[in-house]
């Protein structure tokens, strides 16, 4: 028998809120399940044909699997598949926080020139052998990319703090950065030898096949080090969505939060670009998917953004292998081709306008 509520005793807001939180947890679980599926598909697909069973077998019991399968799975496919997940997480988290602190739906590492800056840094090393840091010889290309990316992120931060700068002007400044670094990159390409030119072009297209275990370890370390710092600031970052004045009146130190977040973002955006080249749209689309599914409470928005970004990049990796069997397309081309129409459809179909 149903319980009879007393007249006038309506459901309290907190019951609805709890239901909302449960729904969000379920959605995050679904995103995670989708990611596991694409991750396994990513492992199973490739020029050499294995069944999912063989791949899982080689993963769980590498000693028992035949040597070729074990080598392909562990040394070739697993680094690439894991890199897709990690880079997707990092770029999407970076995009999510850039959109939050710059209060701009178009902010992402790709649209505001951080990726272009990283490409330029990488090209400096590839074409002229320029080292921006006196150490880390084995990693000259990624280190250069990282330094330029961090410099671009700081430049955006400083410009966005200047007097009279509005949300729109930050995007315009970002676009100016994109064009500047692209022009500089073209200049480098003009001077480059044929061999260096090929390397630069491959870099700017973005490719997960550059993944190795040491690079994975560094990327993982960056994600593991920065994400908890962002998560700890979840309430303050969410408050930023109400505007600077409101956030400040709630006791948020707006200036400091912005600076700290931008530093974490430049790490998150630069390291993946440094290792796998330019991969666009993940940092832009991932957060938007998360926002539409989950809302903007950072306790759910941040993990959902990361999962959505990882899912997108992992799925793109699968697609890059399926287009022409036996060939792996550069992932950056795939993300742009999938990302743009997907993004347009999201924007046009969303009933609730988020910006």
């Amino acid at each position: 028998m149903a319980t009879v509520t007393t007249a006038g005793a309506r459901r309290a807001g907190r019951d609805d809120y709890r239901a909302l939180v449960r729904r969000r947890r379920v959605l995050i679980g679904l995103l995670a399940a989708g990611l596991v599926a694409t991750f396994l598909a990513d492992l199973a697909l490739g020029p050499a044909r294995y069944t999912v069973g063989e791949v899982v077998d080689a993963l769980v019991r590498p000693a028992a699997a035949d040597l070729q399968t074990a080598v392909v799975v562990w040394d070739i496919r697993l680094p690439v598949a894991l890199m897709a997940v990690l880079v997707g997480c990092a770029l999407s988290a970076a995009g999510a926080q850039m959109q939050t602190i710059l209060n701009n739906p178009l902010a992402s590492p790709f649209t505001l020139g951080i990726s272009a800056a990283a490409s330029f840094g990488a090209a400096l090393a590839l074409v002229f052998g320029v080292k921006l840091l006196p150490f880390g010889l084995d990693y000259v290309v990624p280190l250069n990319a990282f330094i330029m990316a961090a410099a671009a992120a700081m430049m955006i931060h400083l410009l966005s703090r200047a007097r009279g700068v509005t949300v729109e002007t930050v995007v315009l400044l970002g676009i100016a950065l994109v064009f500047t670094f692209n022009a500089l990159l073209a200049l480098l390409q003009y001077f480059a030898s044929e061999q260096a030119l090929a390397a630069v072009v491959f870099w700017t297209m973005g490719s997960l096949t550059k993944a190795t275990w040491p690079k994975l370890a560094i990327t993982a370390a960056v994600v593991v080090a920065t994400v908890p710092l962002l998560a700890r600031r979840a309430w303050a970052l969410t408050a930023m969505r109400l505007g600077d004045d409101k956030a400040a009146s709630f006791g948020v130190n707006v200036g400091r939060l912005r600076l700290e977040t931008m530093m974490l973002v430049s790490l998150l955006a630069a390291v993946p670009v440094a290792f796998v080249g330019t991969i666009g749209f993940i940092g832009l689309v991932g957060p938007h998917i998360a926002r539409m599914l989950i809302g903007e409470d950072q306790r759910f928005f941040l993990p959902a953004s990361m999962l959505a970004g990882a899912l997108l990049l992992s799925a793109s990796s699968v697609v890059s292998k399926m287009l022409v069997p036996g060939t792996i397309f550069p992932i950056g081309i795939i993300t742009a081709l999938i990302g743009v129409p997907f993004f347009i459809s999201l924007v046009l179909s969303s009933r609730r306008r988020s910006w």
Binding site: G13, K246, G295
Partner: protein
């Protein structure tokens, strides 16, 4: 009960002083003080200074030492966010009460929404609300933090007449029932006289007058502070009636 006292308080932006020498008698909890004055005379700056968001000379003495004792409610601005009303009120409270959401946080949010009679809006997006509804949400965000001093910056600016009276009466009753010391910046002098136990008049970054509405809102004040020609009289109800004849030419 809480008390607030300002001693020679000022605000500087860079080297330029925008406010100086504000000294008030002790303002007791349970009362409402209207802060009036023309545009750009430092009402918002004064509130930010009291709330600790701006630095400056002088001393703000609040008898309640809790970090969230003084809550400032800035002027309403539109926010393009998918955050719901419920989330935004919870958010205001969660800046200081730890990372995870406790039952008492949710109870406090429900109580704040009920007190302002906006429970029906709880799961609407902030971006979908009218200006008046947003101001009520702002008030909920302020009281959910359980302050003892509230600084409300033009809480009625986007409201129609009916809502203005409702909100003003609500602020009065909140101040009485919770022993709040409420400072409210207002443009409408009639509303200020209805709302406030005391009035602070700011003019050109200084305090022009401070006292009961009847003594502070005068023909002379209208001329010198607002540069309008008008007549203030006491209606049979005891409330002030303000009749404006016209603007005076700039001196």
């Amino acid at each position: 009960m809480v008390t607030l006292r300002l001693v020679d308080v000022g605000v500087r932006y860079g080297r330029r002083p925008v406010l100086s020498g504000i000294t008030t008698p002790e303002i007791a909890g349970g009362t409402v003080t209207a802060v009036i004055g023309p545009n750009a005379t430092g009402k918002s700056s004064l509130f930010r200074r009291i709330a600790g968001l701006l630095e400056g000379p002088g001393e703000v003495r609040v008898s309640d030492p809790r970090p969230d004792a003084v809550c400032y409610m800035p002027q309403d601005t539109a926010a393009n966010t998918v955050l719901t009303v419920y989330e935004s009120v919870l958010l205001a409270r969660k800046q200081r009460t730890g990372w995870s959401v406790a039952e008492r946080d949710l109870v406090a949010v429900d109580a704040a929404l009920d007190r302002l009679r906006i429970r029906d809006l709880a799961f609407r997006g902030l971006g979908e609300l009218s200006g008046g509804q947003r101001q009520l949400v702002s008030l909920a965000q302020t009281i959910v933090r359980e302050p003892s001093v509230v600084l409300l910056d033009e809480p009625t600016s986007a409201l129609d007449l009916h809502r203005q009276i409702e909100v003003v009466d609500l602020i009065r009753s909140l101040a009485r029932e919770r022993g709040l010391c409420a400072l409210v910046a207002l443009h409408d002098l009639a509303l200020a006289s209805r709302l406030a136990d005391g009035v602070i008049v700011l003019s050109d970054g200084r305090m022009h007058a401070c006292g009961p509405a009847r003594e502070v809102i005068t023909d002379h004040m209208l001329r010198t502070v607002y540069r309008v020609d008008g007549r203030v009289s006491q209606a049979p109800s005891g409330r002030l009636a303000i009749e404006i004849h016209g603007a005076l030419d700039a001196a």
